[in-house]
């Protein structure tokens, strides 16, 4: 989170003078449930990417690679739309998971 500015440093009237600064506002802390994706099931259909209201699905060269947890609010739309049920929502406090920092795990990969 950007350091909060003092009143002397602000443009008058609460104006916002630059475009695209919503990224500075970290909304991930609002989340109760965290999405995680099982890449063993994921078909990279990208419906989650299409429907995420906060552009939090990372895609690399046509492959769904995980989540932007700084901004994902945990709405669960990605889990609801996933046609192969590869995405599960788990409580932030749930010690289960097994996903990496991007929210990925692979149920079909041999340990």
């Amino acid at each position: 989170m950007a350091k909060e500015k003092g009143y002397r440093e602000l443009p008058p009237g609460g104006l916002i003078l630059e475009a695209g600064n919503a990224a500075e506002y970290i909304t991930g802390g609002w989340r109760t449930y965290r999405p995680q994706v099982d890449k063993g099931l994921c078909t990279n259909c990208l419906q989650c990417w299409l429907l995420c209201p906060d552009c939090c699905i990372h895609v690399d060269d046509g492959t769904m690679t995980g989540y932007d947890y700084d901004h994902c609010k945990g709405c669960g739309i990605c889990a609801r739309i996933c046609p192969v049920k590869a995405i599960t929502m788990i409580l932030e406090t749930d010690p289960r998971g097994g996903a990496d920092e991007r929210g990925q795990f692979n149920s079909k990969k041999k340990a």
């Binding site: 909060e4 500015k5 003092g6 009143y7 002397r8 602000l10 443009p11 008058p12 009237g13 609460g14 104006l15 916002i16 003078l17 630059e18 475009a19």
Partner: protein, 389 residues
């Protein structure tokens, strides 16, 4: 150079608006709107100004259109009165909060109800804390002068606050008086060209007006707004002096009349000051040490300067043309007493007078000076001057 003309207060203000030729004027075209906007609409219809006039369906919409036009980068003016100002309420605050230098003349008239269309200050006193600079005029000359200065104050890059020049309904708005007006080119030179800092229509520099502003920044924005209001004092003074060099009529925060050695002082706003000065002259001839201070700038409130100008008096009467409905005092009375606290030992009495256009007759002013001299000033609770028991 200036011309001497005979105009009503409304005509004088409309003449100033014609000379300024603002980009946009949005106004509600029916009562409580006054003749001021009617006169200005004549100028528009006659092709004497290039202003785009937006006639809207309510005063709430009038101020909304002003906010939108000013944010877009236009020089914007409007006018209203009484209940019209009350209906604008929500957007009056937003104009100030967004730091939009809109100039709105308010012809001071009583708020309903029961229905009354005559002069008192209940309309502008009601929005004294809305973040607008307020300048009260005494006569058509000041209606004209204040309106021209208001624009220059509002648009000053250090200020960017809306300004509300006012004058008394009917008593000034409809009274024909002699005044001096400037040449059109002199007015245009004085107000200069408006250079908006962050116009919405500048697509190369995108800007967001009025975003959601929560616990983390709203407080800082209000503090910045309050600081701009404090800075406005210096700009009001500088603009008033510059206007004086142009016209011979300098303006400050107030007009102190025979107060230097006065033991009793009446403080009032607007047209009543003219009557009070007459009474002061009469009483001075009888050897009474009395004076009157006409407060021109009520927002920001010049507490320190006011205390310096009247604090030496033994007794002061503040005349309020608005009821405070607090059981204690009118709005000006409260602020003057607060300004003198810790700075002066003068006793401050408070009178409510002239509501709904009731005349302030000279004998009532004599009565106030007699109260002050005789130790009968209403110190703890405002008295109602000239009301029937």
């Amino acid at each position: 150079m200036g011309r001497v003309v005979a105009l009503t207060g409304n005509e004088a203000a409309a003449e100033a608006m014609r000379q300024i030729d603002p980009d946009v004027v949005a106004a509600y075209p029916i009562t409580p709107q006054t003749e001021l906007m009617h006169k200005f609409a004549d100028f528009v219809a006659d092709g004497l100004v290039k202003t785009e006039v937006i006639l809207v369906e309510s005063e709430h919409s009038a101020m909304s259109a002003c906010v939108g036009a000013c944010a877009a980068g236009a020089r914007v003016m409007t006018a209203t009165s009484a209940n019209g100002l009350a209906l604008m309420w929500e957007i009056v605050y937003i104009a100030a909060s967004l730091r939009l230098p809109i100039v709105m003349t308010v012809v001071n008239r009583a708020l309903s109800g029961p229905i009354n269309i005559h002069c008192d200050h209940s309309d502008t006193m009601g929005c004294r804390d809305s973040g607008w600079i307020q300048l009260y005029g005494e006569n058509p000359q000041e209606a004209y002068d204040n309106l021209i200065q208001a624009l220059k104050i509002a648009e000053h890059p250090d200020i960017l606050l809306p300004v509300m020049p006012t004058y008394d309904g009917f008593i000034i708005s409809h009274t024909l008086e002699r005044l001096e007006v400037l040449g059109d080119d002199e007015v245009k030179r004085f107000v200069g060209e408006f250079k908006p800092a962050h116009p919405l229509l500048d697509l190369s520099r995108p800007v967001t007006y009025g975003p959601l502003d929560l616990q983390d920044y709203y407080f800082e924005h209000k503090k910045a707004q309050a600081e701009a209001m404090k800075r406005a004092k210096g700009v009001v003074r500088a603009v008033g002096e510059e206007y004086g060099r142009l016209t011979g009529r300098s303006y400050g925060f107030f007009d102190a009349y025979r107060t230097e050695d006065a033991e009793q002082i009446i403080l009032c706003l607007g047209s009543s000051a003219g009557t009070a000065k007459e009474v002061v002259d009469e009483l001075r001839e009888k050897g009474r040490r009395v004076g009157v201070l006409k407060l021109r700038m009520f927002r920001p409130f010049p507490a320190e300067e006011l205390a310096g100008a009247i604090g030496h008096a033994s007794a002061i009467a503040v005349l309020d043309r608005a009821e405070g409905f607090n059981g204690v005092s009118g709005p000006v009375g409260l602020e003057v007493r607060s300004a003198l606290y810790g700075r002066s030992a003068a006793l401050v009495g408070n009178y409510i007078y002239g509501l709904g256009g009731r005349d302030l007759r000279p004998e009532l002013i004599v009565q106030v000076f007699d109260d002050l001299a005789g130790g009968r000033a209403p110190l703890l609770e405002a008295a109602h001057l000239g009301v029937r028991e």
